[in-house]
Subunit: 157 residues, 2 copies
Amino acid sequence: MLHISTRGEYGVRVMIDLARHFEGGLRSLTEISEDEGLPVQYLEQLIKRLRDKDLVASVRGAHGGYQLTRTPDAIRMSEVLQALEGSLETYTCPSDKDTQGQTCDWGHRIDDCTTRMLWARLRTAIFQTLDGITLAELSAVPAHPALRGLLAGGASA
Amino acid sequence: MLHISTRGEYGVRVMIDLARHFEGGLRSLTEISEDEGLPVQYLEQLIKRLRDKDLVASVRGAHGGYQLTRTPDAIRMSEVLQALEGSLETYTCPSDKDTQGQTCDWGHRIDDCTTRMLWARLRTAIFQTLDGITLAELSAVPAHPALRGLLAGGASA
DNA sequence: GCTAATCCGAGTAATCCACTCAGAATTAAC
DNA sequence: GTTAATTCTGAGTGGATTACTCGGATTAGC
Protein backbone atom coordinates (compact mmCIF):
# COMPACT_ATOMS: atom_id res chain seq x y z
CA MET A 1 0.00 0.00 0.00
CA LEU A 2 2.80 2.32 0.83
CA HIS A 3 4.76 1.40 -2.21
CA ILE A 4 7.93 3.39 -2.67
CA SER A 5 9.01 2.88 -6.24
CA THR A 6 12.52 3.45 -7.50
CA ARG A 7 11.12 6.59 -9.06
CA GLY A 8 10.61 8.05 -5.63
CA GLU A 9 13.72 6.52 -4.18
CA TYR A 10 16.12 7.55 -6.93
CA GLY A 11 14.54 10.96 -7.28
CA VAL A 12 15.02 11.68 -3.60
CA ARG A 13 18.60 10.52 -3.80
CA VAL A 14 19.22 12.84 -6.73
CA MET A 15 17.79 15.72 -4.74
CA ILE A 16 19.93 14.87 -1.72
CA ASP A 17 22.96 14.71 -3.96
CA LEU A 18 22.14 18.11 -5.41
CA ALA A 19 21.62 19.48 -1.92
CA ARG A 20 25.05 18.28 -0.82
CA HIS A 21 26.64 19.94 -3.82
CA PHE A 22 24.47 23.00 -3.66
CA GLU A 23 27.41 25.33 -3.10
CA GLY A 24 29.41 23.75 -5.88
CA GLY A 25 27.52 25.10 -8.85
CA LEU A 26 26.22 22.89 -11.60
CA ARG A 27 26.26 19.15 -11.30
CA SER A 28 25.82 16.80 -14.23
CA LEU A 29 23.74 13.67 -14.31
CA THR A 30 26.76 11.56 -15.16
CA GLU A 31 28.44 12.71 -11.96
CA ILE A 32 25.34 11.96 -9.95
CA SER A 33 24.74 8.60 -11.53
CA GLU A 34 28.32 7.51 -10.96
CA ASP A 35 28.34 8.60 -7.34
CA GLU A 36 24.96 7.09 -6.58
CA GLY A 37 25.31 4.07 -8.80
CA LEU A 38 22.11 4.70 -10.72
CA PRO A 39 21.41 4.46 -14.48
CA VAL A 40 21.83 7.84 -16.19
CA GLN A 41 19.10 7.57 -18.77
CA TYR A 42 16.58 6.62 -16.17
CA LEU A 43 17.60 9.59 -14.06
CA GLU A 44 17.03 11.82 -17.07
CA GLN A 45 13.37 10.88 -16.98
CA LEU A 46 13.09 11.40 -13.26
CA ILE A 47 14.81 14.74 -13.14
CA LYS A 48 12.49 15.98 -15.86
CA ARG A 49 9.66 15.73 -13.36
CA LEU A 50 11.66 17.68 -10.82
CA ARG A 51 12.47 20.35 -13.36
CA ASP A 52 8.87 20.59 -14.54
CA LYS A 53 7.87 21.36 -10.97
CA ASP A 54 10.64 23.95 -10.81
CA LEU A 55 12.58 22.22 -8.07
CA VAL A 56 15.76 22.06 -10.13
CA ALA A 57 17.09 24.26 -12.92
CA SER A 58 19.10 22.98 -15.84
CA VAL A 59 21.80 24.37 -18.10
CA ARG A 60 22.25 22.66 -21.43
CA GLY A 61 25.36 22.07 -23.46
CA ALA A 62 28.87 21.11 -22.48
CA HIS A 63 29.68 21.71 -18.81
CA GLY A 64 25.97 22.04 -18.21
CA GLY A 65 24.11 20.36 -15.43
CA TYR A 66 21.51 20.78 -12.73
CA GLN A 67 21.10 22.83 -9.61
CA LEU A 68 18.44 23.31 -6.96
CA THR A 69 16.32 26.40 -7.50
CA ARG A 70 16.11 26.99 -3.75
CA THR A 71 18.24 26.35 -0.71
CA PRO A 72 17.80 22.82 0.67
CA ASP A 73 16.07 24.07 3.82
CA ALA A 74 13.40 25.67 1.67
CA ILE A 75 12.49 22.46 -0.12
CA ARG A 76 9.96 20.21 1.56
CA MET A 77 9.86 16.52 0.83
CA SER A 78 6.16 16.79 0.13
CA GLU A 79 7.01 18.82 -2.96
CA VAL A 80 9.70 16.42 -4.04
CA LEU A 81 7.57 13.33 -3.74
CA GLN A 82 4.61 15.03 -5.34
CA ALA A 83 6.78 15.94 -8.30
CA LEU A 84 8.12 12.43 -8.66
CA GLU A 85 5.01 10.37 -8.17
CA GLY A 86 2.14 12.32 -9.73
CA SER A 87 0.81 14.31 -6.82
CA LEU A 88 -0.48 12.73 -3.67
CA GLU A 89 -3.92 14.17 -4.30
CA THR A 90 -4.41 12.96 -7.85
CA TYR A 91 -2.93 9.55 -7.15
CA THR A 92 -6.30 8.53 -5.90
CA CYS A 93 -8.01 5.49 -4.58
CA PRO A 94 -10.83 3.73 -6.42
CA SER A 95 -13.65 5.43 -4.54
CA ASP A 96 -12.35 8.84 -5.52
CA LYS A 97 -12.19 8.19 -9.19
CA ASP A 98 -15.51 8.27 -10.96
CA THR A 99 -17.88 9.68 -8.45
CA GLN A 100 -16.94 13.30 -7.97
CA GLY A 101 -19.80 14.99 -6.18
CA GLN A 102 -22.25 12.27 -7.07
CA THR A 103 -24.18 9.96 -4.86
CA CYS A 104 -22.92 6.45 -4.50
CA ASP A 105 -24.93 3.24 -4.72
CA TRP A 106 -25.89 3.63 -1.12
CA GLY A 107 -27.85 6.77 -1.72
CA HIS A 108 -25.82 9.21 0.35
CA ARG A 109 -23.18 11.52 -0.99
CA ILE A 110 -19.94 9.82 -1.85
CA ASP A 111 -18.14 12.30 0.40
CA ASP A 112 -19.81 10.71 3.39
CA CYS A 113 -18.75 7.25 2.37
CA THR A 114 -16.73 5.56 4.99
CA THR A 115 -13.76 4.34 3.04
CA ARG A 116 -13.28 7.73 1.51
CA MET A 117 -12.90 9.27 4.94
CA LEU A 118 -10.32 6.66 5.79
CA TRP A 119 -8.17 7.38 2.75
CA ALA A 120 -8.50 11.10 3.33
CA ARG A 121 -7.14 10.78 6.85
CA LEU A 122 -4.32 8.64 5.57
CA ARG A 123 -3.37 11.10 2.89
CA THR A 124 -3.25 14.08 5.20
CA ALA A 125 -1.09 12.10 7.60
CA ILE A 126 1.35 11.30 4.83
CA PHE A 127 1.33 14.81 3.50
CA GLN A 128 1.93 16.34 6.89
CA THR A 129 4.92 14.20 7.72
CA LEU A 130 6.49 14.81 4.32
CA ASP A 131 5.75 18.49 4.68
CA GLY A 132 7.61 18.51 7.98
CA ILE A 133 10.86 17.23 6.51
CA THR A 134 13.14 19.42 4.45
CA LEU A 135 15.87 18.43 2.04
CA ALA A 136 18.36 20.10 4.37
CA GLU A 137 17.52 17.63 7.14
CA LEU A 138 18.14 14.66 4.90
CA SER A 139 21.31 15.97 3.33
CA ALA A 140 22.76 16.70 6.75
CA VAL A 141 23.59 13.01 7.03
CA PRO A 142 27.21 12.67 5.96
CA ALA A 143 27.93 11.89 2.36
CA HIS A 144 30.64 9.54 1.22
CA PRO A 145 33.57 9.69 3.65
CA ALA A 146 35.99 10.80 0.95
CA LEU A 147 33.89 13.85 0.31
CA ARG A 148 33.58 15.11 3.87
CA GLY A 149 35.15 18.50 4.38
CA LEU A 150 34.95 19.26 0.71
CA LEU A 151 31.25 19.86 0.80
CA ALA A 152 31.20 23.45 1.96
CA GLY A 153 34.16 24.35 -0.21
CA GLY A 154 32.93 24.05 -3.77
CA ALA A 155 33.51 20.51 -4.87
CA SER A 156 32.21 19.22 -8.15
CA ALA A 157 33.77 15.78 -8.11
CA MET B 1 3.03 6.57 -3.94
CA LEU B 2 0.10 6.17 -1.69
CA HIS B 3 -1.64 3.78 -3.94
CA ILE B 4 -4.84 2.36 -2.56
CA SER B 5 -5.67 -0.63 -4.72
CA THR B 6 -9.09 -2.17 -4.99
CA ARG B 7 -7.70 -4.92 -2.81
CA GLY B 8 -7.49 -2.48 0.09
CA GLU B 9 -10.64 -0.65 -0.83
CA TYR B 10 -12.87 -3.69 -1.30
CA GLY B 11 -11.39 -5.44 1.68
CA VAL B 12 -12.17 -2.53 3.94
CA ARG B 13 -15.69 -2.34 2.58
CA VAL B 14 -16.18 -6.02 3.31
CA MET B 15 -15.00 -5.49 6.86
CA ILE B 16 -17.32 -2.53 7.32
CA ASP B 17 -20.18 -4.59 5.98
CA LEU B 18 -19.38 -7.38 8.41
CA ALA B 19 -19.16 -4.86 11.23
CA ARG B 20 -22.59 -3.48 10.43
CA HIS B 21 -24.03 -6.97 10.46
CA PHE B 22 -22.00 -8.13 13.41
CA GLU B 23 -25.07 -8.82 15.54
CA GLY B 24 -26.82 -10.67 12.75
CA GLY B 25 -24.80 -13.84 12.74
CA LEU B 26 -23.18 -15.23 9.63
CA ARG B 27 -23.11 -13.26 6.43
CA SER B 28 -22.39 -14.81 3.06
CA LEU B 29 -20.20 -13.37 0.37
CA THR B 30 -23.07 -13.29 -2.09
CA GLU B 31 -24.99 -11.04 0.25
CA ILE B 32 -22.01 -8.78 0.69
CA SER B 33 -21.19 -8.64 -2.98
CA GLU B 34 -24.76 -7.80 -3.92
CA ASP B 35 -25.06 -5.08 -1.33
CA GLU B 36 -21.69 -3.57 -2.10
CA GLY B 37 -21.78 -4.19 -5.83
CA LEU B 38 -18.48 -6.05 -5.91
CA PRO B 39 -17.50 -9.25 -7.77
CA VAL B 40 -17.93 -12.31 -5.56
CA GLN B 41 -15.02 -14.36 -6.79
CA TYR B 42 -12.66 -11.51 -6.30
CA LEU B 43 -13.92 -11.03 -2.77
CA GLU B 44 -13.24 -14.69 -2.09
CA GLN B 45 -9.57 -14.03 -2.66
CA LEU B 46 -9.55 -10.92 -0.51
CA ILE B 47 -11.40 -12.41 2.42
CA LYS B 48 -8.95 -15.28 2.45
CA ARG B 49 -6.29 -12.81 3.53
CA LEU B 50 -8.54 -11.53 6.29
CA ARG B 51 -9.26 -15.03 7.47
CA ASP B 52 -5.58 -16.03 7.40
CA LYS B 53 -4.89 -13.13 9.75
CA ASP B 54 -7.75 -14.28 11.94
CA LEU B 55 -9.81 -11.15 11.50
CA VAL B 56 -12.83 -13.06 10.22
CA ALA B 57 -14.04 -16.60 10.84
CA SER B 58 -15.79 -18.71 8.28
CA VAL B 59 -18.40 -21.46 8.34
CA ARG B 60 -18.58 -23.67 5.28
CA GLY B 61 -21.54 -25.32 3.64
CA ALA B 62 -25.07 -24.14 3.00
CA HIS B 63 -26.10 -21.18 5.16
CA GLY B 64 -22.46 -20.69 5.94
CA GLY B 65 -20.72 -17.37 5.82
CA TYR B 66 -18.33 -15.07 7.57
CA GLN B 67 -18.21 -13.19 10.82
CA LEU B 68 -15.77 -10.93 12.59
CA THR B 69 -13.73 -12.70 15.24
CA ARG B 70 -13.83 -9.63 17.49
CA THR B 71 -16.15 -6.73 18.12
CA PRO B 72 -15.66 -3.88 15.63
CA ASP B 73 -14.23 -1.56 18.26
CA ALA B 74 -11.45 -4.07 18.90
CA ILE B 75 -10.30 -4.17 15.30
CA ARG B 76 -7.83 -1.54 14.21
CA MET B 77 -7.55 -0.51 10.59
CA SER B 78 -3.81 -1.08 10.74
CA GLU B 79 -4.51 -4.79 11.12
CA VAL B 80 -7.03 -4.80 8.32
CA LEU B 81 -4.81 -3.03 5.84
CA GLN B 82 -1.82 -5.10 6.83
CA ALA B 83 -3.80 -8.24 6.19
CA LEU B 84 -4.99 -7.05 2.80
CA GLU B 85 -1.85 -5.53 1.39
CA GLY B 86 1.03 -7.69 2.64
CA SER B 87 2.05 -5.92 5.80
CA LEU B 88 3.21 -2.36 5.87
CA GLU B 89 6.59 -3.47 7.10
CA THR B 90 7.31 -6.10 4.50
CA TYR B 91 5.99 -3.98 1.66
CA THR B 92 9.33 -2.31 1.50
CA CYS B 93 11.06 0.32 -0.51
CA PRO B 94 14.06 -0.42 -2.73
CA SER B 95 16.67 0.61 -0.17
CA ASP B 96 15.30 -1.85 2.33
CA LYS B 97 15.41 -4.85 0.13
CA ASP B 98 18.83 -6.32 -0.31
CA THR B 99 20.91 -4.63 2.29
CA GLN B 100 19.70 -5.90 5.63
CA GLY B 101 22.28 -4.93 8.21
CA GLN B 102 24.99 -4.44 5.66
CA THR B 103 26.88 -1.36 4.73
CA CYS B 104 25.79 0.45 1.61
CA ASP B 105 27.97 1.73 -1.22
CA TRP B 106 28.70 4.82 0.80
CA GLY B 107 30.52 2.98 3.53
CA HIS B 108 28.21 3.71 6.43
CA ARG B 109 25.55 1.40 7.69
CA ILE B 110 22.46 1.24 5.55
CA ASP B 111 20.39 2.12 8.62
CA ASP B 112 21.96 5.57 8.60
CA CYS B 113 21.18 6.13 4.98
CA THR B 114 19.09 9.14 4.41
CA THR B 115 16.33 7.81 2.22
CA ARG B 116 15.78 4.93 4.55
CA MET B 117 15.13 7.29 7.41
CA LEU B 118 12.62 9.13 5.28
CA TRP B 119 10.64 6.02 4.42
CA ALA B 120 10.77 4.87 8.02
CA ARG B 121 9.21 8.10 9.21
CA LEU B 122 6.56 7.82 6.55
CA ARG B 123 5.69 4.30 7.49
CA THR B 124 5.30 5.01 11.18
CA ALA B 125 3.08 7.97 10.32
CA ILE B 126 0.86 5.77 8.23
CA PHE B 127 0.82 3.00 10.77
CA GLN B 128 -0.05 5.32 13.62
CA THR B 129 -3.00 6.91 11.88
CA LEU B 130 -4.35 3.53 10.84
CA ASP B 131 -3.79 2.22 14.32
CA GLY B 132 -5.87 5.07 15.70
CA ILE B 133 -8.96 4.18 13.70
CA THR B 134 -11.17 1.24 14.59
CA LEU B 135 -13.68 -0.59 12.45
CA ALA B 136 -16.38 0.63 14.81
CA GLU B 137 -15.67 4.23 13.92
CA LEU B 138 -16.00 3.56 10.23
CA SER B 139 -19.10 1.42 10.48
CA ALA B 140 -20.81 4.05 12.59
CA VAL B 141 -21.54 5.92 9.39
CA PRO B 142 -25.05 4.94 8.37
CA ALA B 143 -25.49 2.06 5.99
CA HIS B 144 -28.05 2.00 3.23
CA PRO B 145 -31.13 3.99 4.27
CA ALA B 146 -33.39 0.98 3.95
CA LEU B 147 -31.36 -0.84 6.54
CA ARG B 148 -31.35 1.78 9.26
CA GLY B 149 -33.08 0.64 12.38
CA LEU B 150 -32.64 -2.97 11.46
CA LEU B 151 -28.97 -2.97 12.27
CA ALA B 152 -29.14 -3.60 15.98
CA GLY B 153 -31.91 -6.11 15.60
CA GLY B 154 -30.41 -9.01 13.70
CA ALA B 155 -30.80 -8.33 10.03
CA SER B 156 -29.30 -10.58 7.44
CA ALA B 157 -30.69 -8.95 4.31
C1' DG C 1 33.18 21.33 -35.59
C1' DC C 2 34.07 18.28 -31.91
C1' DT C 3 32.48 17.05 -27.52
C1' DA C 4 29.80 17.14 -23.43
C1' DA C 5 25.83 17.76 -21.76
C1' DT C 6 20.58 18.31 -21.54
C1' DC C 7 16.38 16.93 -23.87
C1' DC C 8 12.77 13.83 -26.06
C1' DG C 9 9.99 9.79 -27.84
C1' DA C 10 9.60 5.18 -28.42
C1' DG C 11 10.13 0.45 -27.14
C1' DT C 12 10.35 -3.57 -23.90
C1' DA C 13 10.74 -7.31 -20.44
C1' DA C 14 9.00 -8.16 -16.10
C1' DT C 15 5.82 -7.55 -12.65
C1' DC C 16 1.49 -6.55 -10.52
C1' DC C 17 -3.56 -5.71 -10.59
C1' DA C 18 -8.22 -6.94 -11.02
C1' DC C 19 -10.36 -9.77 -12.09
C1' DT C 20 -12.59 -14.57 -14.38
C1' DC C 21 -13.00 -19.65 -14.80
C1' DA C 22 -13.36 -24.22 -13.32
C1' DG C 23 -13.94 -27.16 -9.96
C1' DA C 24 -13.30 -29.52 -5.30
C1' DA C 25 -14.89 -29.74 -0.43
C1' DT C 26 -18.27 -29.02 3.05
C1' DT C 27 -22.72 -28.75 5.15
C1' DA C 28 -27.98 -27.62 5.86
C1' DA C 29 -32.40 -28.75 4.16
C1' DC C 30 -35.40 -31.83 1.85
C1' DG D 1 -28.68 -39.32 -0.04
C1' DT D 2 -29.48 -36.01 -3.24
C1' DT D 3 -29.62 -31.18 -3.94
C1' DA D 4 -28.39 -26.64 -3.20
C1' DA D 5 -25.71 -23.23 -1.06
C1' DT D 6 -21.71 -22.02 0.41
C1' DT D 7 -16.65 -21.78 1.41
C1' DC D 8 -12.26 -23.00 -0.53
C1' DT D 9 -8.38 -23.48 -4.14
C1' DG D 10 -5.50 -23.02 -8.26
C1' DA D 11 -4.88 -21.46 -12.59
C1' DG D 12 -5.36 -18.18 -16.30
C1' DT D 13 -5.73 -13.51 -18.50
C1' DG D 14 -5.96 -8.66 -20.33
C1' DG D 15 -4.41 -4.40 -19.04
C1' DA D 16 -1.53 -1.25 -16.61
C1' DT D 17 2.61 0.07 -14.47
C1' DT D 18 7.58 -0.19 -13.51
C1' DA D 19 12.16 0.21 -14.55
C1' DC D 20 14.48 0.55 -17.43
C1' DT D 21 17.15 0.83 -22.59
C1' DC D 22 17.82 2.78 -27.33
C1' DG D 23 18.27 6.19 -30.65
C1' DG D 24 18.59 10.47 -31.67
C1' DA D 25 17.82 15.76 -31.53
C1' DT D 26 19.36 19.99 -29.45
C1' DT D 27 22.39 23.16 -27.13
C1' DA D 28 26.66 25.14 -25.80
C1' DG D 29 31.69 25.43 -24.47
C1' DC D 30 36.27 24.78 -26.49
